[in-house]
Amino acid sequence: AQTVTQSQPEMSVQEAETVTLSCTYDTSENNYYLFWYKQPPSRQMILVIRQEAYKQQNATENRFSVNFQKAAKSFSLKISDSQLGDTAMYFCAFMTPYNNNDMRFGAGTRLTVKP
C-alpha cells in the first residue's frame, strides 16, 4: 500500500523568504505521479505543482519548485519569495497511473507567512 508522510505539522516563514516543505512516500511502483495541493481557508484544494516519477527534471511553477529524490522517495516543495497569500495548508499527494481513482494524501503542513 502506498503511504504519504508529511512530518512538519506547522511551519512559518517571513514574507519574501524561502521555505521548504517535506514529503516522503512509500511505494513499490516505479511509475507514479506526485502532487502538491494548497488548501486556503476557503477549503478549495488548489493544485500547486505536479511531478511525473519517470522524469528526472524537477518540476517548477513560478515561485514553486520541487526537489524530487526518487531513490529516497522524497518530494519536497520549495516556495521562494513567500507571499502572505501563500498562507494555507499544503498537502502532498501520490497516485499511480494504474489506479488513478485513488489519490493518497499526507496529513498536511500548515504554513503561515508572516509580514
Partner: protein
Amino acid sequence: GAGVSQSPRYKVAKRGQDVALRCDPISGHVSLFWYQQALGQGPEFLTYFQNEAQLDKSGLPSDRFFAERPEGSVSTLKIQRTQQEDSAVYLCASSITGNYGYTFGSGTRLTVV
C-alpha cells in the same frame, strides 16, 4: 461550469438525521471522486465514479453512506442516520484523466450535533 460546485457549503444535522450533499463537476469531466477530510487531516478517499458507473466504493466507512451519479454528471453523497463521527468536510473532485490531478470543489462542512 467553470469549476466544481458543491452545496450546501455548511450543513448542521442532528444525530440520526439523513443528509444529502451535492456535487456538480466540471462539464465533460468523466471521473468524479468523493473524499472525507476530518479536522486537521488530509482528505481520505470515499468513492469514485466514471460517468454514471461507481467503480470503487471501498472508502465508504459504513453502509450508511451512499453515493450516486445517475446521469454521469451531478453526484449526490447521502449519509443516513448521521453520527457525530461523520462530522467532517466532504470534498468532491473531478477530472478528465487523473494523471494531471483533480479539480476540487470547496467542500461541504458537515457538523452532526
